[in-house]
């Protein structure tokens, strides 16, 4: 059976070899064939010219995580349509993926509004927000740099095998920290700089001692605002 594989701008005819698991699916009205066992985001990224799926918490070097939800696309299987994270959703035979519908764009715009309100000073977020038409968030602005995508933690664990840092606490109190909330990184950190390199927002920088300086996620915005109203001075 002949199908089309997109290679750059060229359409190439491919034949399903026996024993090779080839999956045929559709992305934004373009029918493509890829080898099975990968995610929608991986498949789409390998094919220039097909849909542009934004993402912040995905990196090919580590396992997908699905935290930023920016890569959300609409996946249609049979009569069922739902919103899924492209970085985690496996390609399936007959799947129809829509990467740029109005509802998808609205969702991404909303997520970017939330992220921009949290991190108004991060260049990458500013650019993405502009692309999706967010001008000024309708919320009290925070002053964080870290979006809690967990890339640094996963890189440290999966690539370096050290787990010198991890995500602690839950909800709005979640942050990247040293195990047991130690004041500084212990000898587990080898100072490789992997976390600083992989960080999409520049929230982790290498310090003068050759060890990374972690972002300090602190008090929720509403509470900061309330504290300011009570006349407190916020330092960090």
């Amino acid at each position: 059976m002949a199908r089309y594989w997109i290679n750059g701008e060229n359409w190439v005819e491919v034949v399903d070899a026996e024993g090779v698991n080839v999956v045929h699916f559709t992305v934004d009205d373009k029918e493509i064939a890829v080898s099975g066992g990968q995610t929608v985001l991986e498949a789409v990224q390998r094919m220039p010219g097909i849909g542009n799926i934004p993402h912040l918490c995905y990196h090919p070097a580590v396992k997908p995580y699905g935290a930023c939800r920016l890569c959300t696309v609409e996946a249609v299987e049979g009569s069922r349509s739902r919103f899924v994270a492209a970085c985690l959703y496996p390609v399936k035979e007959g799947l129809v993926v829509k990467t740029n519908t109005e509802r998808v764009r609205k969702l991404r715009k909303g997520i970017l509004e939330l992220l921009l309100a949290r991190c108004p000073n991060v260049k990458r977020i500013q650019e993405l927000a502009k692309e999706y038409g967010v001008e000024k968030p309708r919320f009290i602005l925070g002053d964080q740099d870290c979006i809690l995508c967990g890339l640094c933690v996963r890189a440290c664990q999966e690539i370096i095998g050290k787990s010198a840092i991890s995500l602690v606490n839950r909800g709005i109190y979640r942050e990247v920290a040293v195990p047991f909330y130690a004041y500084e990184l212990n000898e587990d950190c080898i100072g490789c700089g992997d976390c600083a390199y992989i960080c999409p927002t520049g929230a982790i920088q290498m310090g003068p001692d050759g060890k990374p300086v972690l972002p300090r996620v602190k008090i929720p915005y509403a509470e900061i605002e309330a504290m300011k109203q009570r006349g407190a001075t916020i330092t960090s």
């Binding site: 994270a85 985690l88 919320f139 839950r170």
Partner: protein, 624 residues
């Protein structure tokens, strides 16, 4: 117990089980007086333990041990009237019993057969005193198929359960029914997951049986965390063997040899009773190796949860079981194919498991007679909030909300007007009065913007501010969000920020659109069901009670008089008698005045605690 006696005790065949059941029944005299005291968590809180101690003391003092048996059972359901005492075999029903009443109960009722009038339940509708338990309107209108045994058996004694026909479903399937037939039976019964999602149980079992993998797991989800819900807890406390039997049947059906009960550590009694049940089932050969001599092996371990609400979500629960942080992961591949340690895992709610032995014993046809077209069987709801008969009720699917709230629940107390009922826990919606005649099942509640959830039902009266309710639930979910994905972590925080502004009179009209936008982000974008359904309380109150939001925003008024920033207390000089009661009650000294002269409130000092409003006997304190 020595190894030998343990061996002797073990049941090795279905015939052994039947013989044991008969011998237990033979030993028991059905006419012997049995005083069963509800020792569920609700009645314990109102002092059931002291009642049991007093009973045992009194019986020992009068040397009546041979004639009278005392049974500490699980929750009977009528928690409002606890501690409950039922005297069998006549089933005389005494409520709000105190230890002081015990000598009288023994001397009058047990020995002389006289009824003690003051301990009887009075039906508020007819003012009639009701003597026998089945005649109490609260119980009369229920269909207690899975919850009914709670009042009859001692959860710490396996023989009680066996005497009531327990484990007969298990012995039947192990020898006469193939796993495929069990799954077919469950499918035909129409049972749907009782944990909230309502996924067809039979289909889940089938996909788990067909999933590839040598090792498969069976898990019982007892991580109930909804505010106001305690039915899973009460079932596990009151009838742990029914849950265990369901799990063993499930394990046999899918080919699993290892099971877990994930129960929260805040439920110490449920943990203890489940542990005792497992130990006893092991001793009797109903669990462990070569169950009933059939060659089938299955063991169950209890895992105590740390109390995170999100760990009730299947993937987070399994992460927690694996010893990792309890965070959900994407479930694009079902847990029944790749769950605990990437092995096929069958996770069901406590109530779902308890339904299984019943379906096997009585058949799918019998089971599917009760209920609506797509929701079969009964459901246990916890009826709480502003309602007369607080407690657990088991009703057939398809009963209307009105029947549940008025006929069983006894309506709203103190003559207040009903305003809304919140179903399905924090992620459910608030349903207003005009929909009270809706039949309750999975699909109908979804249509109203709410859900079945795990069966919580919080009734609200006219003194409830719906904006404040929405704020409360969003606050709760914000605190329980794991913080992994952006829509849930940031979205809920911002939502609570907007709602707090509205309740403080700082809201603007645009906030309503903002709330809707945030709700859309949560529904489409969040990683797990906690986030996806989190906006329900906001959306449903916005839909049904929009005028309250408008009043808070435009008029800066809280119609229900709840939101502190928007209300003011003042004293009506016409009505004030100058009794000084409010002046003494005021914690901040904001009230001034002399005896027999009208008092006044200094608004600058008033903290709006409402103490003056509560103590005034002349209705002179006005809340605006």
């Amino acid at each position: 117990m020595s190894e030998l006696s343990q061996k002797l005790l073990q049941i090795r065949s279905p015939a052994d089980l039947e013989n044991l059941r008969l011998s237990i029944l033979h030993k028991r005299d059905p006419s012997r007086t049995c005083i069963s005291v509800c020792a569920g968590t609700g009645c314990r809180a109102s002092g059931a333990e002291a009642v049991v101690d007093a009973l045992i003391d009194e019986i020992e003092r009068r040397e009546l041990q041979i004639n009278v048996e005392v049974k500490e059972t699980g929750c009977h359901g009528f928690c409002e009237r606890g501690p409950l005492v039922v005297i069998r075999p006549k089933r005389i029903f005494y409520q709000r019993v105190k230890p002081e009443d015990i000598p009288e109960i023994i001397s009058e009722t047990v020995l002389n057969g006289n009824i003690i009038e003051r301990l009887l339940y009075v039906d508020p509708a007819t003012n009639e005193k009701i003597v026998y338990e089945p005649d109490v309107p609260f119980y009369k209108r229920q269909t207690r198929t899975i919850f009914g045994a709670n009042g009859e058996i001692d959860p710490t004694d396996i023989e009680d359960y066996i005497a009531a026909g327990g484990y007969s479903a298990l012995s039947n399937v192990l020898f006469h029914v193939s796993p495929e037939e069990i799954i077919e039976e469950i499918k035909r019964s129409g049972l749907r997951g009782r944990g909230g999602g309502g996924f067809p149980t039979g289909r889940k079992w089938e996909s788990c049986r067909l999933a590839k993998g040598d090792i498969k797991y069976v898990i019982c989800n007892a991580d109930e965390g909804d505010p106001g819900a305690y039915q899973d807890r009460s079932l596990l406390e009151g009838n742990p063997h029914s849950v265990l039997e369901g799990m063993i049947i499930g394990a046999y059906a899918i080919g699993s040899h290892r099971g877990y009960i994930y129960v929260r550590n805040e439920y110490p009694l449920a943990v203890r009773h489940a542990r005792i049940a497992i130990e006893q089932a092991m001793d009797y050969g109903l669990l462990g190796e070569d169950i009933l001599g059939s060659g089938f092996n299955f063991t169950v371990t209890i895992n105590k949860g740390g109390g995170a609400f999100v760990c009730g979500e299947s993937s987070a629960l399994m992460a927690s079981l694996e010893g990792k942080v309890g965070e959900p992961r994407a479930k694009y591949i079902h847990m029944s194919e790749k769950g605990l340690w990437d092995s096929p895992s069958l996770l069901n709610n406590v109530k779902t498991w308890a339904n299984v032995p019943l379906i096997i014993n009585k058949g799918a046809n019998w089971y599917s007679q009760v209920g609506t077209a797509n929701s079969k069987g009964t459901m246990i709801f916890s009826l709480v909030g502003k309602i007369n008969n607080t407690g657990l009720v088991e009703v057939p699917m398809g009963i209307t909300l009105r029947e549940m709230i008025y006929d069983i629940g006894g309506g709203v107390p103190n003559g207040k007007k009903f305003k809304a009922v919140q179903t399905g826990g924090p992620s459910g919606g608030c349903i207003p009065e005009q929909y009270l005649d809706t039949p309750v099942d999975f699909d109908e509640l979804n249509k109203l913007g709410s859900m079945m959830g795990s069966g919580g039902m919080i009734v609200m009266d006219e003194d409830t501010c719906m904006v404040d309710v929405a704020r409360y639930f969003i606050e709760f979910l914000k605190g329980e969000s794991c913080g992994k994905c952006v829509p849930c972590r940031e979205g809920l925080d911002r939502m609570s920020e907007v709602l707090s502004n509205i309740t403080q009179g700082k809201g603007v009209r645009e906030d309503l659109d903002l709330l809707k936008d945030l709700a859309g982000i949560l529904r489409d974008g969040a990683l797990c069901a906690l986030g996806q359904t989190a906006a329900n309380p906001v959306l449903s109150t916005l839909h049904y009670f929009r005028n309250e939001y408008i009043a808070h925003i435009d008029e800066k008024k809280c119609p229900a008089g709840v939101c502190r920033e928007l209300i003011q207390y003042s004293i009506d000089p016409e009505k004030c008698e100058g009794c000084l009661r409010c002046l003494r009650a005021c914690a901040t000294g904001a009230i001034s005045g002399e005896k027999r002269k009208p008092h006044t409130i200094n608004q600058g000092m008033c903290i709006k605690c409402g103490a003056c409003y509560d103590v005034c006997k002349f209705d002179a304190v006005v809340k605006q």
